[in-house]
């Protein structure tokens, strides 16, 4: 049995790992990937110590930092269930099961899906959830960005240099991102903004070639070759049995990163912490590891 299991290796999980090493804990990290959403981010200009760094570069720095320690890391494993029992916490994955005296859930968030016909079929066949990664493949094409918040506007700004034309499909009556981004997007002649608009269906053959949308009562079909889905994020914590969550399914934590379950802590974007930022997730990871250490000192 481990002292601690950390689920997730984004900024929160990695920082928790660094602190767990320094506290001499016997621990295991389980994660689908390294870097989490940081690795999918565009440019990062607000992480202390770096005036400017790209998301993938910062994720590589995180990995470099933990690779200097001899950490037990299960990469590419998906946690399917965590369960608090009388004397330990059991973690089940798609590849095995593990137990520990304490747990830090730092599994972050993932892209919300549209849930419309054609979305699954055309994923990676023109439809993507990562404009930063896949944008360059859409050179000179007409594309749709779905979402009128900051992530949709960021994706639009990134794509402007690459694609021919961008339709922004936004279900709200107006764009909801930062004013400075809205002004830039509105001023660009390559961009058509469709507010109060819903996606009905995505169609194509091998690759997608059209999207059916509805603006108030009016339906229309746009001929496009790319669709970038940027409609927000949902927390990765369906696996956590018995854990208290808020109304948007984020894990509720107290100022010491404790959840309602004794010995179970949580950190970063998967929690109800105010503000979701890379640097905040990293700080929360540190706090969670220190709280777990304090807890273990009491129970061990």
């Amino acid at each position: 049995m481990y002292d601690l299991i950390i689920i997730g290796a984004g900024p929160a999980g990695i920082t928790a790992s660094v602190y767990a090493v320094r506290k001499g804990l016997d621990f295991l990290v389980i994660s689908e990937d390294i870097g989490g959403q940081t690795a999918l981010s565009g440019d990062v200009a607000n992480y202390t110590g770096y005036q400017f760094i790209s998301g993938p570069e910062l994720a590589a720095k995180f990995e470099e930092h933990i690779s200097q320690y001899n950490i037990s890391l299960k990469e590419g494993e998906t946690v399917t269930q965590t369960k608090k029992t009388a004397d330990c916490i059991e973690v089940t994955t798609n590849k095995g099961s593990y137990s520990a005296k304490s747990l830090i859930i730092a599994s972050g968030k993932r892209s919300r899906q549209l849930n419309v016909p054609g979305e699954k079929e055309f994923k990676n066949r023109g439809l993507t959830y990562c404009a930063t990664c896949d944008g360059p493949l859409f050179k000179a094409k007409d594309v749709v960005v779905i979402g009128g918040g900051n992530s949709g506007l960021d994706a639009t700004m990134g794509l402007l240099k690459i694609v021919n034309k961008i339709y922004i499909v936004n279900n709200a009556p107006q764009l909801t991102g930062d004013k400075i981004l809205i002004e830039k997007v509105e001023a660009n002649s390559k961009v058509t903004i469709l507010n109060s608009t819903q996606v009905l269906e995505i169609k194509g053959e091998t690759f997608l070639n059209e999207i059916k949308i509805k603006t108030e009562a009016k339906e229309q079909t746009l001929a496009v070759e790319g669709i970038f889905v940027e409609i927000g994020l949902i927390p990765n914590c369906e696996f956590a049995l018995g854990i208290d969550k808020n109304q948007i399914n984020e894990i509720k934590i107290d100022p010491e990163n404790r959840t309602n379950l004794e010995g179970v802590f949580a950190a970063g974007d998967v929690t109800d912490v105010i503000e979701k930022q890379i640097i905040i997730a990293a700080g929360e990871g540190a706090k969670a590891a220190l709280s777990a250490f304090k807890y273990l000192s009491r129970v061990l």
Binding site: D33, I34, G35, A39, L40, G42, S54, G55, P56, A59, A60, E75, G76, N124, R125, G126, T128, C130, T132, C133, D134, G135, P136, L137, K139, T206, F207
Partner: protein
Amino acid sequence: MSKKVKIYSTPSCSFCHRAKDYLKANNIDFEDVDVSLDTQKAEEMVKASGQMGVPVIDIDGQLIVGFDKEKIKALLGI
């Protein structure tokens, strides 16, 4: 005999970097094709793999979509 390895990537894709680092760490020589710079190569990748996500790793003509470490290991015998 060493196998011919080619990786289709973009500079902004994290899994591409991870795949390349993994190959380097295992002393595998490979050709890196930046599809953000070369539209023709991008089309070649899309046609061959039937999809548009990067990375695509070509090991002696067998294609792996995404950074699938187990598949890479199996095809390269590492």
